[in-house]
């Protein structure tokens, strides 16, 4: 067993940290207040290659492994969750699904421009009436010769108004005995006729990001835009979540670290009753908990990343990492505010933003309740990993680096 990061991993950490700290950190409060995404974020992440970090070079990616993706997410969310959300949807939920399920032609057409950051990608599963209960999806895709006609509405979609491509799940078989089996997945170019979208304002957190709705009215897409077979939509969505949740887990770990670091600074600076507040044991207890959850969250996500590298199915481990890290990040941010006292309650400091951002992650990509069901399900052997027709390819240095 080797717990050491490689030089390559450490340099990735430094590079992504440099970008987030130098370029985003100074302006994040301003955009969070404005409830808008800073316009330079996506082009800059594209230019730096972050949007294609763990995709093979021959598809326009940077050829790094899945651990590098996790480390990048940790650094991004240590500055702001909205940066990591970009990686969750563009990379985890969409691009990695194409890598796993897409045909060569689909990889050329969709994955390559996404890996190069020329096209931004999002993931549309949730609907106004269907969140945790994916089988309740009402959007439809009706086959008509060489095309599908899409109708329906997706809700709470990250990057809804920024993305060029959406991976969506819609119902193709209205009569399937098990409604899960009636779902299929499609790549939809969002500039097609009949697509409209908008952002949701007044969110508690991730205010410097875009979260919105996308509506499809008689949107025609070629049949070649279907990912996988008809009826595989649920499986594809769930396997996408194995990757999206990994980025969320890694990001939440960064949020715990940011809460811890802010708390350490403040506790050594603020004085009460004649000494720095860090000297009080009740404050120390909060800090000790943050250290504990940071270290545990990190180990959990790195294990999931390692399993991805090896090509080992990691639904259970990734779910555990996501559940633990997001719950712990909410607690850490809340305790960080407590350590900051009234100052923490103001947006003069970062910790209130951490708390507002942390709350989202215990809801999206499987609520904490859903993850508890998953964990208990595996433990009680009510659940098992059913092999997939297409598994996420294991990381292979040579294959990832090949130009052709």
């Amino acid at each position: 067993m080797d717990f050491a990061l490689t030089d390559e991993h450490r340099m990735v950490q430094q590079m992504v940290k440099g970008f987030a700290q130098k370029e985003v950190s100074p302006v994040i409060k301003e955009y969070d207040r404005k409830q808008a995404m800073a316009p330079f974020i996506l082009p800059r992440m594209a230019e730096l290659g972050i949007l294609g970090i763990c995709l093979p070079v021959r598809y326009g990616g940077q050829g790094m492994d899945y651990i590098a993706l996790g480390l990048a997410c940790e650094e991004l969310e240590a500055v702001d969750s909205t940066l990591r959300v970009v990686m969750s949807v563009h990379m985890g939920l969409n691009s990695m699904a194409l890598l796993q399920w897409g045909t060569e032609e689909q990889k050329e057409r969709f994955l390559a421009p996404q890996a190069r950051g020329e096209k931004i990608a999002c993931f549309g599963l949730t609907e106004p009436g269907a969140g945790s209960d994916v089988a309740a999806i009402l959007s439809t895709a009706k086959r008509d010769g060489d095309i599908y006609i899409i109708n329906g509405e997706k809700m709470w979609i990250s990057l809804a108004t920024k993305a060029d491509h959406a991976l969506i799940v819609a119902r193709t078989d209205l009569d399937a005995a098990d409604p899960h089996d009636g779902l299929s997945a499609f790549m939809v170019e969002l500039n097609r006729d009949g697509v409209t979208s908008g952002d949701i304002h007044g969110k508690l957190g991730v205010r410097a990001g875009s979260t919105g709705w996308i509506a499809f009215q008689d949107v025609e897409i070629p049949a070649e835009n279907r990912i996988g077979e008809e009826g595989e939509g649920f499986k594809i969505a769930m396997s996408s979540l194995d990757n999206g949740r990994y980025t969320v887990a890694a990001g939440a770990t960064g949020l715990i670290r940011a809460s811890l670091e802010a708390s350490l600074r403040y506790a050594q600076e603020r004085k009460a009753f004649g000494r720095e507040v860090g000297k009080f044991q009740l404050v120390q207890q909060k800090i000790a908990h943050m250290v504990q959850s940071y270290e545990a969250a990190k180990l959990l996500y790195l294990r999931a990343g390692w399993m991805k590298n090896q090509g080992i199915r990691n639904t259970c481990e990734t779910s555990l990492a996501k559940w633990f890290a997001t719950d712990a990040s909410f607690d850490a941010a809340s305790e960080a505010i407590q350590i900051h006292g009234a100052y923490g309650y103001s947006d003069e400091y970062d910790v209130e933003r951490y708390l507002r951002n942390a709350k989202g992650a215990v809801i999206y990509e499987g609520t904490s309740e859903i993850h508890q069901l998953i964990q208990a399900g595996y433990a009680l052997e009510y659940r098992d990993n059913v092999p997939l027709r297409c598994e996420l390819p294991a990381f292979d240095d040579d294959i990832w680096q090949k130009e052709q």
Partner: protein, 259 residues
């Protein structure tokens, strides 16, 4: 165009550098490439991009210094060389410059050697000039812009930022150039660069291999101590209007007799 850039591995700017038992320590703070040297690497790469050629990054230090070299490789430098020797443990800037000069000569046919203005650990800021002196090359220090570089006529024109203002200086190649922040914003390492750097086998040269004539250090540190602790009291002045705040502030300043 053959370019060398000299870099040093130093404690991170955020590190708390203190004296403990007569020794300087920065605890377990990470070591990084000297931030000023990143500007030198950036300048070297920009010149390479403009005039083609290659950039070799060199460092005098122990095994740790390979990290600084790898950072420069990841930014885009073509080659890296570490100069490491137990005899260099107490090297001062004179010794370091003799070693660097010997390495630059061993590399051979170098047109330009870039340095950062100073290293943030020692903060001495003379290594570039001393290296130029040892090499017998023009020393262009505190450069904020390279306005002209002509490899054909072997000439360079730079702007220096000096206390009196801006100074335009011309020189002949080969030359030593030390740069300041205004020169160009250092790029981040690229993922491709990171991959290359992490796989790079960095050659290590000893002083004997360089055939360098190295003097004894002329600077020694007989005793070092922490600066006296300063108590800083912060007070935030509030008030109903900017004018009121300014008035209270003015009164406070007068009260403390700092003006």
């Amino acid at each position: 165009m053959k370019i060398v850039v000299c870099v040093k591995q130093v404690p991170d700017t955020a590190a708390k550098v203190v004296v403990e038992d007569g020794q300087v320590t920065w605890g377990d703070a990470p070591l990084v490439i000297n931030p000023w040297d990143e500007y030198a690497v950036e300048t070297a790469l920009l010149q390479q991009e403009a005039h083609s050629g290659d950039v070799t990054v060199i460092s005098v230090g122990d095994e740790d210094a390979k990290e600084a070299l790898k950072h420069a490789l990841a930014m885009g430098c073509g080659n890296a060389i570490l100069i490491s020797d137990p005899g260099l443990e107490n090297a001062d800037s004179l010794v370091t410059s003799q070693v660097l000069a010997a390495a630059i000569q061993k590399i051979g046919d170098v047109d330009l050697a870039f340095f950062g203005r100073q290293a943030i650990d020692g903060d001495v800021g003379v290594t570039a000039a001393q290296t130029a002196r040892v090499l017998g090359w023009p020393s262009l220090t505190l450069v904020s812009a390279i306005s002209e570089l002509d490899p054909v006529s072997s000439s360079i024109r730079v702007e220096r930022s000096v206390e009196e203002g801006r100074q335009v200086v011309e020189g002949k190649l080969p030359a030593v150039v030390s740069v300041i922040k205004d020169i160009a914003e250092p790029r981040y390492p690229s993922f491709m660069g990171i991959r290359k750097a992490s796989r790079a086998e960095i050659p290590v040269w000893s002083v004997a291999e360089l055939g360098a004539e190295v003097s004894d250090p002329v600077v020694s540190w007989p005793e070092i101590s922490n600066p006296p602790k300063q108590e800083v009291i912060t007070e935030i002045i509030s008030g109903g209007s900017p004018a009121e705040i300014a008035e209270t502030l003015a009164e406070k300043i007068l009260e403390t007799k700092v003006l």
